[in-house]
Symmetry: C2
Subunit: 206 residues, 2 copies
DNA sequence: TAGGCAACCTAACGTTCGTTAGCAAATTAA
DNA sequence: TTAATTTGCTAACGAACGTTAGGTTGCCTA
């Protein structure tokens, strides 16, 4: 029951693999053509430019991340619940398409304007959804964080390395990965949590 | 009291800035020459090849990270202390040279063999130092982690995004950043730590 | 005052780059 | 059966690439 891919989709998918492993700039249209078994010029029957491929990959992944977190946020609940679900949604998207995620996370800077700017504002919008969860949690006493934005970026960068090692056939399921990450980020490594006054008091001296 | 840079060091430093902002492949020798105010061919009076610059940046940073963590590990102590100091050492190196750190972390894949392989084994050796701390901590009950390697990679990727935003003139000092990260990673976001049986029991069902 | 050397130049090399033009074969739709 | 669409080809374009060769300048040292 393999989905039939249009030639354009095949090109996009093959390019994604190459962009991940060699980087966008270091991947030539002749590299891509070779991987597809055709001539470089033939690719232009299906796409307008090399950058169009990058654009499609980046903004398709952006949509997927937004769809996933919007669905996760629809359920409401405590900030802890919401963060758990947001992390899970993010991990699901990451693991479902590791190559495209890697391109989305690392090759976006090769987008030219105005796509480059659009990407950045989408990213900020996405991070804002996480900031809102953290803000709610710190407001009602669920979370204790040094800085809202700092916390969000630490969380997201803690998630975004998954594409470097995740393999679908591995022993960790996406659900298990998400669960492990949630526990690590919510409760930390320490077996026993120190009194919060001890933990954070020295920050005041800086 | 500005240090006098040799022309070779100026080239390396300018290249590092360009490599960070445009990527190694997308930075041409003519870009670099233009930034230096000279002709591209003139660069070759000082270096052997474009890749030599990348090699020097990558392996110099590798040395800095190892020196820092070796010094941090020399003091011993509990696993919690060691992890705190290792995180601090890592953050100090990252913040001291954000451009070179970014190149070190993102452009190493453009190294050709055997440098590429050397880089990877150095990276594994570095991660092994962190794994040893985590292993000690889980062994004596200080830490509770789902998986040793998983934990180390989450920690390191949680640190390695700093170069994307850190500015020396900003309000957060490297020491404060390291402290915040240590607290987040050791104690998590949650204000109250749940009973560990509750927290981790559901992992057994996966 | 001569020699050496660091620093940079112009000119050019062979290669690769993204892309276009124009055409041919195969497949699909009417 | 014909027309349109899809998919691919060869040939080539101008530009940019990393790099080399060979020469000039100016400073420092012996």
């Amino acid at each position: 029951m393999e989905a039939v891919l249009s030639r354009k989709e095949q090109i996009e998918r093959t390019a994604t693999v190459l962009f991940k492993s060699k980087g966008y700039s270091a991947t030539s249209m002749r590299d891509l053509a070779n991987a597809l078994g055709i001539e470089a010029a033939s690719i232009y029957s299906h796409i307008k430019s090399k950058e169009e491929i990058l654009q499609r990959v980046c903004f398709r992944m952006a949509s997927e991340f937004f769809e996933a977190i919007d669905a996760a946020e629809a359920d409401g609940g405590t900030a802890t619940d919401r963060l758990r679900r947001a992390i899970s949604a993010h991990v699901q998207v990451l693991t479902k398409n590791t190559e495209a995620s890697a391109v989305f996370l690392h090759e976006w800077r090769h987008l030219s304007e105005p796509m480059h700017g659009t990407y950045l504002s989408l990213r900020d919008k996405y991070e804002a959804l996480f900031r809102d969860i953290i803000r709610t949690g710190t407001g009602n006493g669920e979370f204790t964080v040094p800085d809202e934005k700092f916390a969000v970026l630490t969380i997201l960068s803690g998630l975004n390395w998954i594409h470097t090692w995740y393999k679908p056939e591995g022993k960790m399921t996406p659900a298990a990965i998400a669960s492990n990450l949630s526990e690590m980020l919510l409760n930390g490594l320490s077996t026993k949590k120190q009194a919060l006054e001890d933990t954070y008091s020295h920050l005041n001296t800086i």
